[in-house]
Amino acid sequence: GESVGLHLPTLSVQEGDNSIINCAYSNSASDYFIWYKQESGKGPQFIIDIRSNMDKRQGQRVTVLLNKTVKHLSLQIAATQPGDSAVYFCAENTPGGGNKLTFGTGTQLKVEL
């Protein structure tokens, strides 16, 4: 299938290394944030979320860090595997906007063997 990663920033890592994907969000009032993984030909897949009253949340092999001072999110993937290769998006939800998610510019993660 065609890639959704054309013209996107690319991060290349060796298998087994840790990956860090960064995201700047736009609205200081946003209070809920989600990271999604999108593989070619598929819809975005939920990875992990974090609310604004937290600055760190851990899942299985993934950690999300939130810095509200500089409006920055990061996704850390431990022991990156070939199956982690995909485009990663952060998304923010702003109060009063219902369930509207605003997506950031995606990052193409390529895992080299």
Binding site: V4, I34, G43, P44, F46, D49, G98, L101, F103
Partner: protein
Amino acid sequence: DAGVTQSPTHLIKTRGQHVTLRCSPISGHKSVSWYQQVLGQGPQFIFQYYEKEERGRGNFPDRFSARQFPNYSSELNVNALLLGDSALYLCASSLVDNQPQHFGDGTRLSIL
């Protein structure tokens, strides 16, 4: 458990035609949102429906409309199709607002 399902998976239309895309949310999810994803970009919000009422609308022309049915499934309609409407149309569902939205694999719409 079944995830969000969308139909059709692919569709080819010509300029000026109209199209209806369908979405079935995860069982128990009352909120359905629609997004448009152009190649190389993140999804852009089109509509949100909750309990059959429109709760939000993105910056899209009136040619775009949607509705939600009593069983929480939803349709997205686009009239007078333009070449620029070619995109992946994604549906997402969540239990309520401000909860994780789970996406289907989308409908790939191509306009000739």
